[in-house]
Amino acid sequence: MACFLVPTAEAIAVTIATKSVGGKERKAALAHTDVCGDNGEIKKTPFSHKLKWLGNLLWGGSALLAFEHLWHGEVVPWFPFMTAANSPADTAAMLHEMSTVGVGMALLVTAVWGCMLLASNIIEKRPSVSCARTQESGEQAI
C-alpha cells in the first residue's frame, strides 16, 4: 500500500547524513582514492562514499517500488496521494503494512549494505593487483 515510504524516509535521512559526513571529511582533508599511494599503500574509501551506496540502493529501490504502487492504483497523482488514506480502515491497514513490510525492506537493504561494508573492508586490506605488481617490479629492480 505504501511500504516504499519507509525506505524513502531512510533514503532522505541517509542523503542528509552523506552530505554532512562528506563535508566533515573534506574539512579533514581526507582525499578519496582507491588507487595506490606514493608508497604503494592503499588509501581507504571515505565513509561518505560508502554511505552513498546505501542512499543509491534506497533511492533506486524506492523509485521503482513507487512505480509499482502507481501501477496497482495505490498511489494517485492527486490529494491525498494514497487511495488507502480515503477510509480509516484502509489507513490502518496501510500503517500496518508500513510497519511490517516497509520496515523489513529498510532493514534488509541496510543489512545488505552492512555486508557490502564488511566485504569492502576486506578488499581494501588486501593489496590490489596493480599495487602488488608495482611492488613486485620494484623488488625485482632492487
Binding site: N56, A63, W71, T100
Partner: protein, 105 residues
C-alpha cells in the same frame, strides 16, 4: 515474476558493469543500484506474501503471472529511462556537450 525480472536485470547489469570497470563510462552502476535496491525490497515483499499465502504463492494463475511479467518489464524499462536521462545529463564522455558546441559553430 516482478522480483525475478528485476533480479535478472540486476545480475545482467552488474556483469556488464564489471566487464567495463573501472572505466564505467556508461554509468551502469546507476542501473545496478536501482535494480538491486528494488530486488531486495521485492524479496521482502515476497517473504511476507509467502507467509500469508503459503504454497499458493508458487502457483499463480496465468493472468497474474502475465500481469506481473508486464509490470516487471515496465519497471526494467523505467529504470533504463532514468539511467539514460542521468547519463545524458552527467555526460561522462562529453558527447552531448561536444555535439551542442558543434551545432553552435
Amino acid at each position: 515474476m516482478t522480483l525475478l525480472t528485476t533480479v535478472f536485470a540486476a545480475v545482467i547489469c552488474t556483469a556488464l558493469w564489471y566487464k567495463g570497470a573501472p572505466k564505467n563510462e556508461y554509468r551502469l552502476d546507476i542501473l545496478c543500484w536501482m535494480y538491486w535496491g528494488a530486488s531486495i525490497m521485492w524479496f521482502v515483499d515476497a517473504i511476507f506474501e509467502y507467509a500469508e499465502l503459503q504454497a499458493k504463492y508458487f502457483t499463480p494463475s496465468p493472468a497474474e503471472m502475465l500481469n506481473d511479467l508486464f509490470l516487471g518489464l515496465s519497471v526494467v524499462a523505467l529504470g533504463m529511462v532514468i539511467w539514460i536521462i542521468i547519463l545524458l545529463c552527467k555526460d561522462p564522455k562529453g558527447v552531448v556537450k561536444a555535439s551542442l558546441l558543434q551545432k553552435k559553430q
